[in-house]
Amino acid sequence: MKEDPGRIEVGVCASCNVAHHPVRHDCPACHGPVTIHGHPGNGAVVSWTRVERPPSGFDAPIRAILVRLDDLRAHGDGVGPSGPLALATTPHDDLLAIGTPVRLRCDDAGRLHAEPA
């Protein structure tokens, strides 16, 4: 069992410091080595959709949001975007607006779920 259920993990590049989600083996910006960091899950909606025609095995609607997570770096060096992007779903229609602050939690399958911040 995880120490902090629901904690999000992001990858941070040891070379260029750019963070990403979900964690992968190499940095998507420079292919440098990646270290794993916890993230509180706070960020803001940068885009959203309501899927009314989902594929087999999913119920409509699926409310999907793209979130720009807050910057983890104590001293931003200007390299890359300000925080990693993350993809989440939510049961809340009122989160479907660009700029809305949200908090993401991770389930056991690695899916991200958004709640009001």
């Binding site: 750019v18 594929p55 990693p84 779903t89 690695g110």
Partner: protein, 389 residues
């Protein structure tokens, strides 16, 4: 940039109707090749066959597909293989065919794109297509339409555009479909019908999306001089997951298109302003605008209203998708790139086939550009062609 040893030419095309086919996967492949040999009876026997198809195993239950096709075409004995790059398979096969000819290894390469998708119901077919997506997208039930919807909303927000402009782009594609006897949709579709079509993934409606289609198209790439010269090809890839793309504009533009275009223009030694006619990968209507911007023909954010104003009609300054594009012609994924090249071949040679949609007939196009995209913009190939006469 490595040099091309020998020029390659595009010659002799074949095309089946796109839509819901009566025949099988192999019937369609044979019909496309029959059309090629009927149009061009002097065509030499190919010395290599490349089959472009995305997922014949899932869609049609076919394996060992390169030999199955080559055998059906009566061409057994020559080299045969399958090229797959998701819906960019067509131009990926074209690039490989050109490399075979440009290196001197082969003289006549047949590339044949074929897909049958309508035997599965829509939900099941979309599930097969969703295999293109990253697991983090798939596990949330997000289809290609859903991912494109996320980019579209960011694009509309960034440039302050009215979502109704998407309806105008779709209507424009259908207007061109009326001129194409091979198109899946040959009747015009009104703005009202598009605006009233069911929402698939907000802001994308059913009529903003290319259909599921059956179809095949083929062409010959030759070492002997032909009517259309391959001037330059540029390929580029990007991370599978949208959230992994490190580019500043990753939510509103496709960096792989920008890089593929840069290489293609460099190899062709031309500037974007020299392109006379385009075929771009409009799997979803907003992509038409994104692609025209990423290819350097329009400033970021300016293409969507320009399309609505008619700038991309065959008699406009940027003739684009004159045969209806993926939206109206149909989108049998493995055949789409070859169909784009066939359209450009006809346009650059003023073939009778495109007499109802010939671009700028008073000053026929000399330079054509095809843009083919796999996945959500993560595998892109751009080809630049030139009429030789």
């Amino acid at each position: 940039m490595p040099h091309v040893l020998h020029p390659a030419y595009m010659d002799a095309v074949g095309h089946t109707p796109f839509g819901r086919a009566e025949g099988s996967f192999l019937d369609l492949a044979a019909a496309a090749y029959d059309d090629l040999t009927t149009r061009h009876p002097e065509t030499p026997r190919p010395d290599h066959v490349l089959v472009s198809t995305q997922d014949p195993g899932a869609f049609a239950g076919i394996g060992n597909v390169a030999v199955a096709v080559t055998d059906r075409l009566g061409l057994c004995g020559v080299a045969a293989s399958r090229i797959e790059a998701a819906p960019a398979s067509g131009l990926a096969a074209f690039e490989s065919a050109c490399a075979l000819v440009q290196s001197g290894a082969r003289a006549n390469v047949l590339i044949l794109g074929v897909e049958t998708m309508t035997s599965l119901d829509t939900a099941r077919a979309n599930q097969v297509l969703a295999r293109m997506a990253h697991p983090s997208e798939r596990q949330n039930g997000l289809t290609m339409a859903a991912m494109v919807a996320l980019m579209t909303r960011a694009y509309l927000e960034r440039y302050g555009h009215d979502p109704a402009l998407l309806d105008a782009v779709a209507a424009r594609a259908h207007a061109q479909g009326t001129t194409n006897r091979y198109a899946q949709f040959q009747a015009p579709v009104s703005l009202d019908d598009i605006a009233a079509s069911p929402m698939v993934a907000d802001p994308l409606r059913r009529h903003h999306s290319a259909p599921l289609s059956d179809g095949a198209a083929c062409l010959m790439v030759t070492a002997a001089p032909g009517p259309v010269l391959v001037k330059g090809i540029g390929p580029a890839t990007d991370p599978l997951a949208l959230t992994h793309r490190p580019h500043r504009d990753a939510l509103t533009h496709f960096a792989a298109t920008q890089r593929a275009a840069e290489e293609a223009y460099g190899r062709a030694r031309i500037d974007p302003s020299e392109v006379d006619i385009l075929e771009v990968h409009d799997a979803f209507s907003p992509m038409t605008a994104m692609h025209l911007e990423d290819l350097g023909l329009f400033k970021p954010g300016s293409a969507l209203p320009a399309i609505a104003q008619g700038k991309t009609t065959p008699d406009g300054p940027y003739p684009t998708n004159c045969g209806g594009g993926l939206k109206a012609r149909g989108h049998p994924v493995g055949a789409t790139g070859i169909a784009m090249l066939a359209e450009l071949h006809w346009q650059l040679t003023q073939d009778q086939e495109v007499s109802k949609r010939q671009a700028t007939p008073e000053d026929p196009p000399r330079i054509g550009l095809a843009h083919n995209m796999g996945g959500l913009g993560n595998n892109v190939i751009v080809a630049i062609l030139e009429a030789t006469s």
